[in-house]
């Protein structure tokens, strides 16, 4: 008994930093946003707490529903593209990387050493201008004979988002594939499975935890994205993130901004629960 209690105490001691940290910097702000979302915004910012469900009713205005819908479509698209591009790369690094494996993974992570903002601006410089870097290269390679419109397009937004979030997909995939037992592959092939069959029936299912973790890591931040649509898309596309930012910084309607934030959080949690249930929660635990 005494031993058990000592252990419990020690565990409590170890867990207290994270509990305090999450409580102060995660739970309290979250509750604050929840309280704000039912409040009433003053004309000049600030908020009166109370129970005004009007903020939530406003979210269901067709204008905002459309923006939320568009955001989810973009986030799903981004997740699928990251998976499509990231999987082969993670697969290649794991199985063909050999002694360069660590170097290759390091290369995937290197962009993190610079701020996302700086990298987004770098893309503005690369894609921008008739005499910009990208256009010069394309013309030098004779892929086009006249300058193309590359920057401030919907394609530029998607490209920027895939670029930014790709590492979040590759790393969990790599972690999942790394644990893969080669002998299973050999066994499948010995039993007469084609390479495609082996991949589809053996390798891919075993890498599902990575797929799930990567998809969630990409999907959540993409749904809240607001920098890239402005910088690379010319703010022609409004995402929920832009809308929330605008409520706080321009319209001074913190209550509505909070209601939007809560709705977004609820939607994301719902989407993820649906997704995890479809592919199986047990897979996630293996990550």
């Amino acid at each position: 008994m005494g031993k058990g209690r000592g252990w419990t105490l020690r565990l409590a001691g170890l867990l207290s930093p994270v509990t305090i940290w999450l409580g102060l910097f995660f739970l309290v702000p979250l509750l604050l946003i929840l309280a704000y979302s039912f409040g009433k915004s003053g004309i000049y910012g600030g908020i009166t707490l109370g129970f005004y469900p009007g903020n939530y009713l406003k979210v269901f205005d067709p204008l905002y529903i459309e923006i939320i819908g568009r955001t989810l479509v973009i986030a799903v698209l981004n997740t699928l593209l990251c998976l499509l591009i990231g999987y082969p790369l993670a697969y290649f690094i794991t199985f063909k990387g050999g002694r360069h494996k660590n170097t290759l993974i390091l290369l995937v992570m290197i962009p993190f050493w610079t701020s996302l903002l700086l990298r987004a601006y770098a893309w503005v410089v690369i894609l921008g201008g008739d005499n910009g870097i990208a256009n010069r290269i394309l013309q030098f390679l004779h892929l086009t004979d006249h300058p193309l419109t590359l920057i401030f397009t919907p394609q530029a937004v998607i490209m920027g988002m895939v670029y930014s979030y790709l590492p979040f997909m590759i790393l969990p995939l790599y972690a999942a594939l790394e644990k893969f037992d080669w002998r299973l592959k050999e066994a499948a092939q010995d039993l007469g499975a084609s390479r495609w069959h082996t991949f589809w029936r053996v390798t891919f299912p075993l890498s599902l935890p990575g797929v799930i973790a990567g998809s969630i890591l990409v999907f959540i931040p993409s749904a809240g994205e607001f920098v890239i649509p402005n910088l690379l898309g010319g703010a022609r596309t409004v995402m929920v993130g832009n809308l929330i930012q605008q409520q706080f910084l321009q319209a001074r309607d913190w209550a509505f901004g909070s209601a939007l934030a809560v709705m977004l959080a609820v939607l994301l949690v719902g989407a993820i629960m649906f997704y995890v249930r479809r592919v199986g929660a047990d897979k996630l635990e293996e990550v």
Partner: protein, 369 residues
């Protein structure tokens, strides 16, 4: 309105400021200023300690401004930066900032007065008040200059490629001209851009009537397919310079920076109306060094200081005594020195109270159309 108005001088680092705005969304309420010494000396009785906490737009003082002030007075200045009027407001509302001088734009001065967070100015301590030109005092946002004195001012107009388009008439029409499709950049600002539509329609930039706002919305929805996008002024400037845009909706300081480095460009202040804005010096309630703050405001309104400021920022000075010392190169740029007829048709964006949200919804609806 305004995502960062006055971050204008060029280059990459500068442009970083624009993004920092975006990045700072979540940190609106975070961070205390880097006030170094503010433990003692407050209150009012006795001499103040030699310190001043200035909260300003980034890169909005000349290189010499603060060192010279420190040399003259021995007061040590600590400068912090904000990137939008709303960020400034939110920080002051959160309280306990320790700032002595802040630099809000016109409409924000009204909001701050109404929110009772500004200290009245003591004009007996600011003799240089007389340097302020008559066009820049007694404005609607603070009719008796009880709380604010002007720092810099400028206009909002169109920076365009003269080589490609020829010299344009002063009008908003080129921004709606299908011939310029895909080569137009408007401001990503929920007052300036609806404002441009209101000007074009002949209405006031501070319109609150539903019919007028609806018309403006329709006008902007008509314009949207022609646009490359909605940008910050600091984004439109390089885009016009490097040819991604032929026309950009910009603040005058950005235009003048572009013009001073590129002869192919021109700046026009459209008819029938366009915006002029003013940034102002104010003292927030509870400032710990009000005497030093008055000294600083008086110093900024000095003839030489005012000229140095404008020669650096490329914005206009409200200081008549500074005018003779403004660089000729700057004065000769189109749209820097304005004919009275042009000046008189400029309008000032005012706080519209509850209607702020109408503008916000209008602009969102246009952008997602």
């Amino acid at each position: 309105m305004v995502f960062q108005k006055r971050i204008s001088r060029g280059d990459f680092l500068r442009t970083m400021g624009v993004g920092a705005v975006a990045g700072s969304t979540l940190s609106v309420l975070a961070c205390q200023p880097n006030t170094t010494a503010q433990s003692s000396g407050g209150g009012g009785s006795g001499p103040e300690e030699k310190a001043l906490n200035l909260y300003n737009w980034s890169d909005y003082v000349a290189k010499s401004t603060i060192p010279d002030f420190q040399k003259q007075t021995g007061i040590e200045v600590t400068q912090d930066f904000f990137s939008s009027n709303e960020e400034l407001l939110a920080k002051l509302q959160a309280g306990g900032t320790g700032y002595d001088v802040i630099v809000p734009s016109d409409y924000m001065v009204t909001i701050m007065i109404k929110s009772d967070i500004l200290e009245p100015l003591d004009m007996s301590k600011i003799p240089n008040f007389e340097n302020v030109g008559k066009n820049y005092k007694g404005l609607a946002y603070d009719p008796k200059n009880e709380y604010s004195l002007p720092y810099q001012w400028g206009t909002t107009g169109i920076l365009y490629n003269k080589k490609e388009l020829g010299t344009l008439d002063p009008s908003w029409d080129p921004m709606w001209d299908p011939a310029n499709k895909g080569m137009i950049g408007m401001l990503n600002d929920e007052r300036e851009t609806p404002g441009a539509a209101l000007y074009k329609l002949g209405y006031s930039v501070n319109a609150t009537e539903k019919e007028q706002l609806d018309e403006a919305e329709a006008e902007l929805k008509k314009q949207k397919p022609l646009l490359r996008g909605y940008f910050d002024s600091t984004q439109n400037r390089p885009s016009v310079i490097n040819g991604d845009l032929l026309l950009g909706h910009v603040f005058s300081g950005d235009a003048f920076l572009a013009l001073s480095s590129n002869e192919d460009l021109d700046f026009v202040i459209p008819e029938p109306a366009a915006t002029r804005w003013t940034d102002n010096m104010c003292i927030p309630k509870g400032a710990e060094h009000p005497d030093n703050a008055h000294k600083f405001i008086n110093y900024i309104l000095g003839a030489k200081t005012g000229a140095e400021l404008s020669n650096y920022t490329y914005y206009n000075t409200p200081n008549e005594a500074s005018l003779p010392m403004i660089n000729d190169a700057l004065k000769n740029l189109p749209g820097y020195e304005l004919e009275p007829a042009v000046f008189d048709r400029l309008q000032i964006i005012e706080d519209v109270g509850r209607a702020t949200r109408e503008y916000s919804t209008l602009f969102t609806s246009v952008k997602s159309s």
